[in-house]
Amino acid sequence: MDERVEAILEKYHRNRRFLVSVLQDIQGEYYYLPKEILMQTSEALDVPLSQIYGVATFFKAFSLEPRGRHLVNVCVGTACHVRGAVRVLESIERETGIKPGETDSDLKFSLEAVNCLGCCALGPVMVVDGEYHGKLSPAKAAEVLKGSE
C-alpha cells in the first residue's frame, strides 16, 4: 500500500467512523479518489466498497475522476446569484470549454459551481487554486483564467 494512504489510515486509527475524513485526506493528497486506493481503504477499514462509493458520490467535495491542474470554484450562492454569478459562470464555461463538475481533456482546469464561499460581500466570487477573486464581471473572470498556465 502507498505509504501516504497508510499514514492517513493510521491517523484515524483505521476506525470506520472516520470514513469521511479519510476520504477527504485522500482527496487532499491525490486531488481525487483513485479506485485502487478506495479498494485498499475498503479492506483496511473493513467497509464494503459499495458503501465507500455511496459516501464518495453523496458528498459534493469528492471526485472519482482526476482533477485538472487548476481548480476553479465559482460561487453560485444567493448573494452572488443576484449580483450576476450566472453570467460569470457562463463566461468561465466559454473560456474553459467545460461545465461545472468537468475537467478539460488536457487536465488544465476543473470547474466546480459551489453554493456559497462565505464571502458574500465580494460577490460574484470565484476561488482559483485557493486564491479568492471578488467583485467579478464576466470579462474579469475570463481574464483571471487567461493568466493561468
Binding site: 470506520r16 467512523r17 472516520f18 470514513l19 469521511v20 475524513s21 476520504l23 477527504q24 467497509v47 455511496g54 459516501v55 453523496f58 458528498f59 459534493k60 467535495a61 469528492f62 453560485v76 450562492g77 444567493t78 448573494a79 446569484h81 443576484v82 449580483r83 453570467r87 457562463e90 463566461s91 466559454r94 459551489v114 453554493n115 456559497c116 464561499l117 462565505g118 464571502c119 458574500c120 460581500a121 465580494l122 460577490g123 466570487v125 479568492y132 477573486h133 471578488g134 464581471s137 464576466p138 470579462a139
Partner: protein, 640 residues
C-alpha cells in the same frame, strides 16, 4: 505555559496579561476575515510588519491580525487603537503613511469613511453608521482579538463564564439560567436552547454527546464562519459550559470543508484551550472532563440537518431520518445528543457571565438577545450586522445597509436561505424576530438577508432556490425528491416562456404535499421560496405566463438585446466583445444584433459606454427591424 487550576489562577493570569499591555500604546489591527483576505489583507499585514521592523518601531507600535469586523464591503479594514481610527480599503502602498500618521497622532483623511448622506469624514470606527446602529454583543469582540492568540480572549475576560459555571453553579443552575435567558437556537428553527439541553440532560442513557453545527450551508450567510474564524474561543467556552450543563464529556465540531481558515483557527484554539486547562481532563481542577474533536463536512447542504449531520459523523452517507425520536434522546450512535449552532454557543458565555435577566433586556417577547445577519445582495454596505431582535428590516437595510446600490429601488429581501422566503417592500417595517418572520411566510434561518432590487426577477429567484434544493435533496423521501423536480420544471417552463394556465395552482398543490409529507426540514420548508414569491409577486408569475414578459429583464428566453439606432455611435466596442459575433456593423455603420445568433449573454449591454447606453433589453415586445440607413448621422461637433 501553566495549566490553570482554579478561577483565581485564571483571574491572576488575566491581570498578568493586562499588566503587560499598555492601553495607550498604539495598536494597528488588520481585519483578516475571509472577505478582507480576498482583498489582500495579508499583503497589507506584511507591509506593516516590515515597515515597523525597518523603522525600529517594534516596541512602540503593536500589530495584530483580527477576525472579521463585518464591514466587508470596504475591506481591507484597518483599525488603530486606542482611538479606534478606522481606515477603509487600505492597500499595501498606504502603509508608510499610516505608520507616520500613528506616530504623529493625526488621521489620514483620504482613508476615512465618508458618510454618503452628510459628506462628513468619520474617524472613529464605532461612529460609522454601519456600526453605530448595531448592538454587537456577540460579534463585537472579533475586531479586538487575534483569533490565534488565546491571551487576547483572556484579556477581555474570556473563560471567566466557564470558571463561574464550574465553581459557582451546579449543572442544573446553568441549565436554569439558559432556560430563563429564553435563548433560541440561531441555526434556523429557533428551538429554545434550554429546553433542548434539559431533554438531553434528563435522558438516562449514556454517554451524552454535544455537537457544534458549523455546516453553514445556507448560501448567502457567513456569520458562523466569521465567528469560528474570528473568535473561536467564545464558541469553545459556550460548548464546554453546555457540556457541563447536560453532563456530556465528548463533543464534536462539524465544520464545512469550504471553510479552511475556520478549521485552522479552531484547531489552534482547541490546542490552546487544552494547554490552559479549559478542555480535557479535570478542567480548571473542577473534576469535570470534556474533550472535543473537529470533523469536516463533505459539502452537502442536507448535513446541516441534525440527523443527517450525525449520520455523516458516524461515517455514513449524510441522509436524514424521520424524527419520531428526537436526537436529544437518541442521536449520535443512538445516544442522547445535543446539537446547537455556532452562534447559539457564542451566546452562552455572555448569559452565564451577565445573567439571564440582563440578557432578557435585549430583544422581543418571544426572541431574546441579538441576531447576526449577513446583509448581502444589492445593498450599499454589505457585511455582517448584529442587531437586537425586533429591529425593523428598514433599519437594517437603510440605516445600517445604507440603502440600495446604484440608486435603484428596493424590491424584496430574502431571509432564511433556501428554506425561507422573500419579503416585499410593504413589510419593511416588520420588527424581525423568529415569530414575525414566520408570520410573513419566511423564516429566520441562520440569518442570511439578501437584498434584491428592481433588476431581480422573482421567478428566477424561486427557480434558483428550487434548483438548489433539487440538487441538495438527498433523495431518500419521495415528496422532496419528486416534488422539487416537478416544481423546478414548472418554474423553468414559466421563465422560459412555456408557462400555462394552472401552473401556479400546481405549484401550490405540490408545496402542500411537500410540507406535509417530506421527511426532514429541508423538504418541508423547500416550498417557502416558491410560495412567498407567489404570495407577494403573483403579478410577475402572470406576466411571465400570459404576456411572456419578464419585468426585471432577467429570464433569458423572454428578453432580447437591441441596439437603439439613434443612440449607437458605431464605436465598435460591443461588436468586438460579442463572443458569438452576432453584431454586425462597422466604422460609421450603426451596429445591429442578429437575433438568431445572439445568445443573450449581455456582454454588449455591459460594455456599451454609459454615455451612449445604446444597448437596450426588451421583454414582452417585438424587436424593431434594423434601420433602413446604417449610416451614423453625426451632429456637427458632437463627436471628437
Amino acid at each position: 505555559m501553566v495549566c490553570l487550576q482554579s478561577p483565581s489562577e485564571l483571574e491572576k493570569i488575566r491581570q498578568d496579561i493586562l499588566s503587560r499591555r499598555d492601553p495607550n500604546k498604539p495598536c494597528i489591527t488588520i481585519c483578516s476575515g475571509t472577505g478582507c483576505c480576498a482583498y489582500g489583507s495579508e499583503k497589507v499585514f506584511r507591509s506593516f510588519e516590515e515597515a515597523i521592523k525597518n523603522q525600529g518601531l517594534e516596541g512602540q507600535i503593536d500589530l495584530r491580525r483580527t477576525g472579521c469586523h463585518g464591514f466587508c464591503e470596504r475591506g481591507t479594514l484597518v483599525v488603530i487603537y486606542p482611538d479606534e481610527t478606522c481606515y477603509i480599503q487600505v492597500q499595501p502602498e498606504d502603509v508608510p503613511e499610516v505608520i507616520s500618521s500613528v506616530e504623529e497622532g493625526k488621521a489620514i483623511e483620504r482613508l476615512l469613511y465618508v458618510d454618503p448622506v452628510t459628506g462628513e469624514r468619520i474617524t472613529c470606527e464605532s461612529e460609522i453608521p454601519f456600526y453605530k446602529h448595531q448592538n454587537r454583543m456577540i460579534f463585537g469582540n472579533n475586531r479586538r482579538i487575534d483569533p490565534k492568540n488565546i491571551e487576547d480572549y483572556l484579556a477581555l475576560g474570556g473563560y471567566s463564564a466557564l470558571a463561574k459555571a464550574l465553581y459557582e453553579m451546579s449543572p442544573e443552575r446553568v441549565l436554569e439560567e439558559v432556560k430563563q435567558s429564553k435563548l433560541r437556537g440561531r441555526g434556523g428553527g429557533g428551538f429554545p436552547t434550554g429546553r433542548k439541553w434539559e431533554t438531553v440532560r434528563n435522558t438516562p442513557n449514556r454517554p451524552k454527546y454535544i455537537i457544534v453545527n458549523c455546516d453553514e450551508g445556507d448560501p448567502g450567510a457567513y456569520m458562523d464562519r466569521s465567528i469560528m474564524e474570528g473568535n473561536p474561543h467564545s464558541v469553545l467556552e459556550g460548548l464546554v459550559i453546555g457540556a457541563y450543563a447536560i453532563g456530556s464529556h465528548e463533543g464534536f465540531i462539524y465544520i464545512r470543508n469550504e471553510y479552511p481558515l475556520a478549521v485552522e483557527n479552531v484547531r489552534i484554539a482547541i490546542k490552546q484551550a487544552e494547554d490552559y486547562g479549559f478542555l480535557g481532563e479535570d478542567i480548571l481542577s473542577s473534576g469535570f472532563n470534556f474533550t472535543v474533536e473537529i470533523n469536516r463536512g463533505g459539502g452537502a447542504f442536507v448535513c446541516g440537518e441534525s440527523t443527517a449531520l450525525m449520520a455523516s459523523l458516524e461515517g455514513e452517507v449524510g441522509e436524514p431520518r424521520a424524527k419520531y425520536i428526537h436526537t436529544a434522546e437518541s442521536g449520535l450512535w443512538e445516544k442522547p445528543t445535543n446539537l446547537n449552532n455556532v452562534e447559539t454557543f457564542a451566546n452562552v458565555p455572555l448569559i452565564i457571565d451577565k445573567g439571564a435577566s440582563w440578557y432578557n433586556q435585549v430583544g422581543t417577547e418571544g426572541s431574546k438577545g441579538t441576531k447576526i445577519f449577513s446583509l448581502v445582495g444589492k445593498v450599499n454596505n454589505t457585511g455582517l450586522v448584529e442587531v437586537p431582535m425586533g429591529t425593523t428590516l428598514r433599519a437594517i437595510i437603510y440605516d445600517i445597509g445604507g440603502g440600495i446600490r446604484d440608486g435603484k429601488s428596493f424590491k424584496a429581501v430574502q431571509t432564511g436561505g433556501p428554506s425561507g422566503g422573500v419579503i416585499p417592500e410593504s413589510q419593511l417595517d416588520l420588527p424581525i424576530d423568529f415569530d414575525e418572520l414566520t408570520k410573513v411566510g419566511s423564516m429566520m434561518g441562520s440569518g442570511g438577508m439578501i437584498v434584491m432590487d428592481e433588476d431581480t426577477c422573482m421567478i428566477d429567484i424561486a427557480k434558483y432556490f428550487t434548483t438548489f434544493l433539487e440538487e441538495e435533496s438527498c433523495g431518500k423521501c419521495v415528496p422532496c425528491r419528486e416534488g422539487l423536480k416537478h416544481m423546478r420544471q414548472i418554474l423553468a417552463n414559466i421563465s422560459e416562456g412555456r408557462g400555462q394556465e394552472g401552473d401556479i395552482e400546481m405549484l401550490e398543490y405540490l408545496s402542500s404535499v411537500m410540507r406535509d409529507g417530506a421527511l426532514c426540514a429541508l423538504g418541508q420548508t423547500a416550498p417557502n421560496p416558491v410560495l412567498s414569491t407567489i404570495r407577494y409577486f403573483r403579478d410577475e408569475y402572470e406576466a411571465h405566463t400570459k404576456e411572456k414578459r419578464c419585468a426585471a429583464k432577467v429570464c433569458k428566453d423572454l428578453i432580447s438585446f437591441y441596439i437603439e439606432p439613434d443612440e449607437c455611435k458605431a464605436c465598435m466596442i460591443c461588436l468586438r466583445n460579442c463572443p458569438v459575433d452576432a453584431i454586425s456593423g462597422g466604422k460609421g455603420l450603426i451596429h445591429v444584433i442578429d437575433q438568431e445568433k445572439c445568445t443573450k449573454c449581455g456582454t454588449c449591454f455591459d460594455v456599451c459606454p454609459t454615455r451612449f447606453s445604446a444597448v437596450a433589453k426588451l421583454s414582452g415586445e417585438p424587436v424593431p427591424p434594423p434601420p433602413l440607413s446604417r449610416e451614423v448621422t453625426r451632429e456637427k461637433g458632437s463627436e471628437q
